[in-house]
């Protein structure tokens, strides 16, 4: 019984991490119609910078995540300006196809360049805290804190989008672009801000990844595809949907690993993605 409980709690953390990483992908598609296949690579880069901050500056992962978030926000904006701005004039379908090609290319470039300069090995941030013991269940304090941090970030984002004026402008731009234009929303600036923010969030998640698991140069694309599964299951453009999608996939993976064996779990996300596309393509919480 307690084994199952621990699995579910672990899946909860994993799901929240998936959601945090996937939100940026969902937002950039929702607001800009850009499908950023290099999204997972920014998680990898974020983890890398977090590792360097830990080793050379002695920063703990929470502080490092904030620092990485700030840096990658600027990097995300620069990335958009460099590669993606010129796509703006095309039709939505044109933007989608072009962005897939551009970001796929840059994903491969980022991965190869990182492997070239860093070496292909995986790294992790060796940061340990004590464990909490409750009955016969063991909870590493670090995981608990990361779960709390993740939930705080997601809740904060939810309230920002729902309650603040700027947040509602972002949501409105996703829902109806022409409506946003006629009320004077500067779509270009909102789009840039949203894109940078999505990259920042994913980079910060990368620091958590490096602490809990490990980072290696070629993990990006596989992770991006998994995020795609998360947002399709939850519904593109929906923030609670990303959370739900993340939990669904993480739980399915954990349960599969426990009962069938760990080599089955990578397939689970894609099986769920296919099932979702067949049964309910708009996702659990998405708009039809």
């Amino acid at each position: 019984m307690s084994a199952l409980l621990q699995i579910l709690i672990g899946a909860g953390l994993q799901g929240a991490l998936y959601a945090l990483g996937a939100i940026g992908l969902s937002l950039s598609f929702g607001v800009l119609r850009i499908m950023n296949l290099s999204h997972g690579d920014f998680l990898m880069l974020g983890g890398l910078v977090g590792y360097l901050a830990f080793v050379h500056l002695g920063l703990n992962p929470f502080v490092a995540a904030a620092l990485v978030g700030g840096c990658l926000f600027l990097a995300g904006i620069a990335y958009h300006e460099l590669l993606l701005t010129r796509l703006a004039g095309r039709s939505p379908r044109g933007v989608l196809i072009a962005s897939v090609m551009v970001t796929l290319g840059s994903a491969l470039a980022i991965e190869d360049l990182t492997a070239f300069f860093w070496g292909g090995s995986s790294i992790g941030i060796p940061y340990r805290l004590r464990s909490l013991v409750w009955g016969d269940a063991v909870f590493p304090l670090l995981r608990v804190l990361l779960l709390v941090a993740t939930l705080v970030l997601t809740t904060g984002l939810y309230f920002f989008l729902g309650k603040s004026f700027l947040g509602r402008a972002v949501v409105a731009s996703t829902l109806n672009r022409e409506g946003a234009l006629v009320v004077g929303i500067n779509i270009r600036r909102i789009a840039l801000f949203t894109f940078g923010f999505g990259i920042a969030l994913t980079g910060a998640t990368g620091v958590f990844y490096a602490t809990l698991f490990s980072i290696e140069p070629y993990m990006g694309l596989g992770l991006t595809l998994k995020y795609l599964a998360v947002i399709v299951v939850g519904g593109i453009g929906s923030l609670p949907g990303a959370l739900v999608g993340g939990l669904v996939i993480a739980t399915a993976e954990s349960v599969t690993a426990y009962y069938l064996g760990p080599h089955w779990s990578p397939m689970v996300a894609f099986a769920i993605l296919v099932a979702a596309l067949l049964v309910r393509p708009q996702g659990l919480l998405g708009r039809a």
Binding site: R168, L175, G179, L181, V183, G184, I185
Partner: protein
Amino acid sequence: MLEVKGLEALYGAIRVLWGVSLRIEEGEIIALLGGNGAGKSTTIKSISGIVRPAAGEIRFLGERIDRLPPHQIVEAGLIQMPEGRQIWGDLTVRDNLELGAFSARARPERARSLAWVHSLFPVLAERARMRAKSLSGGQQQMLAIARGLMSRPRLLMLDEPSLGLAPQVVDEVFETLIRINEEGISILLVEQNVEFALRIADRAYVMENGRIVREGASDALRASDEIRAAYLGL
């Protein structure tokens, strides 16, 4: 107040506007008439900046606006109520209205503007917390107009406000437009409902195939046999 000279626009490689010129004086209600595909919507969208003009000059309150991005044109007080309303169905009525006051010029006046549109359209006050998509067609039209008013327009351009509405709702809409005009807001009205448009407009322009083919005072146009035959089926 608004001066358009030689406006030309393209959709891809296809020219859709051929040297359109019109002007609006302060306080007027002007109608832009014509059949489907005549170029009326394109003209409005070129003025509001959503479509980029290929050639021509547009001046609003003396300043050139033809190369500005849409949000700056909104800041100047030139507001468009787009075809098909383009409201946010999943957001509440109140959110739709509040977002209407997004621009820097309109934001400080938000509370006052909200009170004003509530007095013009009481139904929007009653349904403030409901999702916009749950409103009827006529109510959604009111919402779209109200949202435009929240932006504190000096000139309000409405693209087919009577589309898909029952006749008595159309009456209400046009009543409201007259009231708005009395408060000092100039109006450019794109309409297929020629009968009504000519009844409230001071002057009208008629478009065909991307060009202006007639213009004049609405009384004169209503009396003209040509117009009556072409658009009123008489």
